[in-house]
Symmetry: C2
Subunit: 128 residues, 2 copies
DNA sequence: ATACGCATTGGAGTAAACTCCAATGTTTTA
DNA sequence: TAAAACATTGGAGTTTACTCCAATGCGTAT
C-alpha cells in the first residue's frame, strides 16, 4: 500500500508519515520499498498508525507513544523492563480515566441545567 | 496571591502564567494588580488554572481548553451556544474514556502475562 | 545604602510536531 | 509523447506552547 492510500486511511498527511519514519516511530526497511523506491506500507504498520493516532488523542507525546507501543512486542520482552514501562503508564491512564469521568459528569450537569431553561428555544433552532 | 506562589501551587512556570494571561486564557484586570503593579491572583483564577492543567493533560489544545472553560460561566449563557459547545466535547470525552478503558485492559493483560513468567526475577530486582 | 529576592515588560529563542517547497524521478492517462 | 498524478529527498518554514533574557523597579534584610 503506498503512501497516499495510507494517508487517506489514517488521516495523517504524507509528510507526517515520512516524519514518523524519520524519527523511528514506524520502521520501513529495504523490503518495505518497491522496485522504484516507493514506500510500501504493510498491514502491521497501518495497525500501528491507528494506535498512534489513538494515543495521540489521549494527549501522549510521540515519545510516550513510542513507549506504549513497545507493548506490541511484549511477548518477546523480558519482565523487568515491561513492568517498568507498564506500571507508570497504567497509573497515568487510570488517573486520566477518573478525571475524564468527572469532567463528563460536569458536562452532563451543565447540559441538564441548560435544557431545563430553554429546550423550546433550542428545538426551534434545530428544526429551522 | 502573587505569581511565585501561584506558580508553585499550579506547577505552571511564572512565564507560562504570564503567557496564559497574554493569550487571554486567564484575565487579570486593573483590580488584579497591587499598588506596585504586581499581579494579584484570586482564588477563582487559581481554580481556573487547576482546570486548565487538567484539560491539558487530556490532550486538549489551549484553544479547546478555552472552549471548555466557557462552562464556568454557563449560568450566564444562553442555551443554544452552550449546547453547541458541550455536545461535541461530551462526545469527544466519552470516546476518550472508552478508548482509555480499552488501553487499560490491554496494559493489565500485558502485566499478567509478564508476572506469570518472571515475578521472582522482578522481586529480586526490587529488593536489591 | 546596598544587596537580595521578588516583581515588571518586550522581545528573542526553543522544542515538538508537523508542513511546505523545490528539484527530481516514475507511472498512468489523454 | 506529453501532461497529470503519483513518488522521492533534503532542507527550510510554521504553529503551538512555552522559555529565556535583559533592562528595570519594588521591598525587605543586613
Amino acid at each position: 500500500m503506498q503512501i497516499k492510500e495510507v494517508s487517506e486511511k489514517t488521516g495523517f498527511s504524507k509528510d507526517t508519515l515520512r516524519w514518523y519514519e524519520k524519527i523511528g516511530l514506524i520502521k520501513l526497511d529495504r523490503k518495505s520499498r518497491t522496485e522504484n523506491n516507493y514506500r510500501n506500507y504493510s498491514q502491521q504498520i497501518l495497525k500501528r498508525l491507528f494506535l498512534i493516532r489513538q494515543m495521540k488523542s489521549f494527549g501522549f507525546s510521540l515519545d510516550e507513544v513510542e513507549d506504549l507501543l513497545v507493548l506490541e512486542e511484549i511477548n518477546e520482552m523480558n519482565c523487568p523492563s515491561v513492568l517498568g514501562i507498564v506500571e507508570p503508564k497504567l497509573k497515568m491512564i487510570e488517573e486520566k480515566i477518573t478525571d475524564l469521568q468527572n469532567l463528563r459528569s460536569k458536562l452532563i450537569e451543565a447540559k441538564k441545567k441548560c435544557s431545563g431553561n430553554c429546550i423550546e428555544l433550542f428545538e426551534e433552532k434545530v428544526n429551522s
